[in-house]
């Protein structure tokens, strides 16, 4: 089944579910797939997120990849050349971040609510070491955001959540080729009058599959054996390639 057909089928099932539970739940949403497989030919992908609301409001979608430490380095000029001279290590930084909204973010909810739910790059979590001065923190945090934007792993321009009729909404979430692996968290908020009146979370997984995954595992779990195999492959490939060329 194609991705579009599968999405359509899910959408239909969801509509039926909505009709039944409409009174019970203010917000229902789902993804076209809960898993992204990084195969040998992987060059990025898109997922469709869709859902239905009961009542009016704004929809905000936040996608976060697995969190971990991130070291931000600053270059300065030493003897005429640019050298990394300073660094700050942030903890709990999402490796991936996407936000989408039905209206510009500053018109949705309150600053406190946006901060709490990490809505907008300015609100994404990044814990600095204790005792970092506010000015230094601001500089390095901005540096972190810019670096993540350059890598295409975060977005600062929110994606568009579009409504089809008064209740149904949809948005696409794009994942670049360098998308990190791990468990992702997809949160959907229904916001009205500065308050969230509904929320739903869905886990999602990005994993490597096929031969690429096996090579990666081998290279990291059995690093010494991988080193030996790498040397042997290089020797064999070099010898074979030149032998093949000489014969032809």
């Amino acid at each position: 089944m194609s991705r579009a057909a599968r999405a359509a089928a899910l959408l239909l099932a969801l509509l039926l579910a909505c009709a039944r539970d409409a009174a019970a739940q203010p917000l229902v949403a789902d993804l076209s797939s809960h898993e992204i497989s990084i195969t040998t030919g992987f060059s990025g992908t898109e997922l469709l997120l869709f859902g239905a609301t009961e009542g009016e409001g704004d929809i905000v979608v936040v996608v976060r990849g697995p969190a971990g430490p991130a070291t931000v380095r600053r270059k300065s000029r030493v003897l005429g050349i640019w050298i990394n001279t300073d660094s700050v290590r942030f903890e709990g930084v999402p490796s991936f971040y996407r936000v989408a909204s039905s209206r510009p973010l500053d018109q949705v909810g309150t600053p406190g609510m946006r901060q709490r739910h990490q809505i907008g790059v300015g609100a994404v979590s990044a814990r600095p070491p204790e005792g970092t001065s506010p000015e230094r923190l601001a500089e390095f945090r901005d540096g972190l955001v810019r670096a993540k934007l350059r890598e295409g792993l975060w977005n600062d321009v929110p994606g568009q959540v579009s409504f089809m009729g008064p209740k149904l909404f949809r948005t696409t979430i794009s994942f670049p080729p360098n998308v990190p692996t791990g468990i992702y968290n997809v949160e959907v908020f229904l916001v009205k009058d500065g308050r969230e009146i509904g929320a739903q979370t869905a886990p999602m997984r990005v994993k490597k599959t096929g031969i690429g995954a096996r090579i990666y595992d081998f290279a990291h779990r059995h690093a010494a054996a991988h080193g030996l195999v790498a040397v042997l492959i290089a020797l064999a490939a070099g010898w074979a390639a030149s032998a093949a060329f000489r014969r032809s």
């Binding site: 195969t39 640019w82 050298i83 990394n84 810019r146 080729p177 010494a224 080193g227 290089a234 390639a241």
Partner: protein, 307 residues
């Protein structure tokens, strides 16, 4: 057209990688050098992390050098005695180099040191080669023939202890000398992702005074083992060898080198060396400019990803 490089964890155009391998292979066949000093910076320019570029390029050089080394062995152009002394130095130097690499990576300075090493070494080698080839061209225009200076001059280097006989090279010199040359080139191999032929060959001719007939074969023999050691250690300790990348570059490189070698026979030696010198200087200048020019953003994410 996209292929996911599993260890580098990025997706690249495999035709581009084959083409890069072919292009650099063509130049390396043309000039008779390994091409690592061109490939590693090119990989970094197209966005491969420097650590992965260095580690994978070492694997590529193993493959690219093995057929040449075998060919020279068959033609009896390898001084094994000298080769083993160079190799002992090379293994020593490259093992230290990989440790230094890991430390630099942790400190966030590996990009800087790679770039600086390239600027200094390529700048020096390129300038020397350019001066030498211009002189040779001018001399030839004056006298109509190329003449070489006295090959065997006695200096303080010949007073070093641990003298050893190298019958094949017709030399009686201190073993410390080739050991030191091997160690220096091994260190560079680990830090820069090069085979080091472009340093090894001049060092063998001018410093050790080896006859040119065995220089290339002996240097290739040593390069195969030293880059194999670098590949193994980088894969083991730093996990920075991407074999998918290495094999793509290798296949392109072997094909390109065959065409390059044929093309090279049609050009004159001094002109070739002059062109090669310009190429080497070009890479050095590009890297030097990148170090000096104010970066677009002084902030960067670094120190390798947390796995």
């Amino acid at each position: 057209m996209q292929i996911y490089l599993p260890v580098a964890e990025l997706s690249a155009n495999w035709l581009l990688l084959l083409g890069l391998g072919g292009g650099v292979g063509l130049l390396s066949g043309l000039f008779g050098v390994g091409g690592g000093f061109l490939m590693t910076p090119l990989l970094i320019f197209i966005g491969v992390p420097p650590a992965i570029a260095v580690g994978s390029e070492a694997a590529q050089i193993v493959g690219a050098s093995v057929s040449g080394a075998l060919a020279h062995w068959r033609r009896n152009n390898v001084d094994f005695r000298m080769g083993f002394v160079l190799l002992a130095g090379g293994l020593f130097g490259s093992t230290i180099g990989v440790q230094v690499f890991a430390l630099l990576r942790k400190a966030g300075q590996v990009e800087l040191i790679i770039a600086l090493a390239y600027v200094v070494i390529l700048g020096a080698i390129g300038s020397l080669m350019l001066v030498e080839s211009v002189r040779a061209m001018r001399r030839q225009r004056l006298t109509g023939s190329t003449r070489r200076g006295k090959l065997h001059q006695h200096t303080w280097l010949h007073g070093l202890p641990l003298k050893m006989r190298f019958p094949k090279s017709k030399l009686y010199i201190s073993a410390l000398l080739p050991f030191a040359v091997g160690a220096f080139v091994g260190l560079l191999a680990a830090l820069m992702g090069v085979g080091g032929g472009f340093i090894m060959v001049p060092a063998m001719i001018y410093l050790l005074g080896m006859p040119t007939s065995v220089v290339v074969g002996t240097s290739l023999f040593q390069i195969v083992f030293v880059t194999a050691n670098v590949t193994f250690l980088q894969a083991w300790q730093n996990q920075t060898v991407d074999m998918v990348l290495a094999v793509l570059l290798l296949v392109g490189g072997v094909v390109g080198a065959q065409f390059g070698a044929r093309l090279g026979q049609k050009l004159r030696g001094e002109q070739l060396r002059g062109l090669m010198a310009l190429l080497v200087l070009g890479v050095a200048i590009k890297l030097a400019v990148d170090l000096v020019v104010t970066p677009q953003d002084a902030f960067s994410l670094g120190g390798g990803r947390a796995h």
